[in-house]
């Protein structure tokens, strides 16, 4: 009995991601983050509170969601868009296996392009393996998991996953969650900040949720998103019928 992770699907997915020019796009934002950190480190006194702001704010509200969005919606969404997913689905491979594999590949890529740069930037900014660096890394890891699950789900649910994802990140998380406290409960960015803040308490992180709430809600959102994605993929119908 094959496990839920399918190496063949993983191989096709990785090669598809690499063959697309978009792959270069998500290498840019982490480079900006690290470059920014180096510049700030060189020009600011070490006591100033900027690492929390830049790495927490820019890192968690721009770098993390946008990179996860591009990767998460691309691993399966691109195939659905161009129709090649039919070759994958016209086999008896389990739909849960397809979603699990796509999720794992997207998660690995998102970690490489968000959590790892976040850790590197944290090490540079705080001058070593400080609590803040570890906290930011842990927060970014948690955020990678949840965002990836949500965006993979979005790509199965709608062909406009990128637009929907952008609206969620910019409007819900960027505006509403900052002004309406209740909106934070459904903000993946705030789950990430909650985790980071629990390890490295820092007012600059603007964390609005406790660790327990962040982990609990994060787990529920991840599992629900993946379950819904499997359900919808099992009922995949060919669209664009000319008849």
């Amino acid at each position: 009995m094959p496990g839920p992770f399918n190496p063949t699907i993983a191989m096709i997915t990785l090669r598809a991601v690499i063959s697309r020019r978009r792959a270069l796009l998500f290498a840019i934002t982490p480079l900006i983050l690290i470059a920014l950190t180096i510049v700030l480190k060189a020009s600011r006194p070490p006591s100033a509170p900027w690492p929390g702001r830049i790495l927490g704010d820019f890192g968690f509200s721009v770098l993390l969601p946008l990179t996860a969005l591009i990767i998460g919606t691309g691993v399966l969404g691109a195939e659905i868009e161009d129709g090649s997913v039919i070759h994958l689905l016209a086999t008896p491979v389990r739909r849960s296996s397809v979603i699990t594999t796509k999720f794992v590949v997207a998660l690995a890529l998102t970690i490489v392009f968000t959590a790892v740069p976040e850790l590197i930037a944290g090490l540079i900014a705080t001058g070593g393996l400080t609590r803040l660096a570890v906290g930011l890394f842990a927060g970014a890891l948690a955020g990678s998991v949840i965002y990836t699950a949500v965006f993979v789900m979005a790509s199965v649910l709608t062909t406009r996953a990128i637009a929907v994802g952008l609206l969620y990140v910019l409007i819900w998380e960027g505006v509403l969650a900052n002004f309406v406290g209740g909106a934070r409960v459904l903000s993946v960015g705030h789950y990430s900040l909650g985790v980071a803040n629990a390890i490295a308490p820092n007012p600059d992180l603007n964390a609005g949720l406790t660790l327990a709430t962040s982990l609990f809600m994060g787990a529920i959102v991840t599992v629900a998103a993946l379950a819904l994605a499997v359900r919808r993929l099992s009922a995949f119908a060919i669209k664009g019928e000319s008849a």
Partner: protein, 303 residues
């Protein structure tokens, strides 16, 4: 054995009915699903393949519904119309990956066999992105064949193929059908079927218009009404002679020649040369003007 069975199957999109109350059974051998574009052929193939849910009616593949039943893909291979293959893989990698997705015992051997069957061995090492339309079609067939399925569905397999590739594909389908497999392909080109299948199902505007042996349909087609454009040494005299024939319904004399409407394609074709010779008129040009599929299929549905 009845492999595929549709009972009163309908499928609509909002207010648009794509397939209207279709009942058909498809067994071993090659079957052509014919009809003009938009007749509902693809909708039927997608429903059989489990990629569309029938809005109403019952559809079974080997006695089980295909919708939300990935187990059918162990017995069924699908060649989709869209040319979207993983273009970044080589042909061999693509077929091999499909074999692995089917969890075959020896995916490598299965891939080689399928590639050989479709005559793609020479090009299998190249990336699919470099393939011609006909080669892409063949590599898709190879992928659909890799698990040795009893049922193979092909959506417009001849689209965009040159005549040589077409003949090659027809031979392959004929061979697969002769092995006792169920081969169902869709097409909007009648000539493709003439060379191929014993059985055809004709769809017009979402309905099953005709079904059965190809030769019977062919007979119907030869006695269909038709319009010809004729140029001769004496158009006016030929017009007078033609209007005396029972199979000629109308004649119009114009600057480009004679436009003749006949009620019986076959009889007219058999008579026109004799008539011209008897009248001492030389025929310069005889041109069928109404070869549109819609008119042919439209006639079939009316009969």
């Amino acid at each position: 054995m009845t492999a595929i069975e549709l009972r009163n199957v309908s499928r609509w999109y909002g207010n648009v009915v794509a397939v209207n109350d279709v009942t058909m059974t498809i067994g071993p051998g090659v079957t052509g699903l014919l009809g003009p574009n938009g007749a509902g052929k693809s909708t039927i193939l997608h429903m059989i393949a489990g990629f569309l849910q029938p809005s109403r009616g019952e559809l079974v593949v080997g006695s089980r519904p295909s919708w939300q039943n990935p187990a059918i893909y162990r017995r069924l291979g699908l060649v989709p119309e869209r040319d979207s293959v993983y273009a970044f893989l080589t042909g061999e990698q693509f077929v091999l990956a499909t074999a692995k997705l089917h969890e075959l015992a020896d995916p490598g051997a299965a891939a080689l066999r399928a590639i050989a069957m479709t005559d793609m061995a020479d090009a299998a090492g190249r990336r699919v992105a470099t393939y011609s339309k006909g080669m892409r079609q063949r590599i898709k067939v190879a992928a659909a064949l890799v698990h040795d399925p009893e049922i193979i569905l092909l959506d417009e397999p001849f689209n965009g193929m040159d005549p040589r590739q077409r003949i090659h594909m027809m031979e392959l389908l004929g061979k697969l059908g002769a092995e006792g497999r169920v081969i169902l392909f869709s097409s909007h080109v009648l000539e493709e079927v003439e060379r191929l299948s014993g059985t055809i199902q004709v769809m017009v505007a979402g309905r099953l218009a005709a079904s059965g042996d190809f030769r019977a349909i062919r007979r119907l087609m030869t006695s269909r009404p038709h319009v010809f454009l004729i140029r001769s040494s004496d158009d006016r005299r030929l017009a007078a002679a033609l209007i005396g024939r029972p199979e000629v319904a109308a004649v119009e004399l114009g600057p480009a020649g004679l436009q003749v409407r006949t009620s019986d394609f076959g009889a007219f074709c058999a008579q026109i040369a004799v008539l011209a010779r008897d009248s001492g008129i030389r025929l310069r040009e005889l041109l069928p003007t109404d070869e549109s599929l819609e008119s042919v299929f439209g006639y079939l549905i009316a009969n």
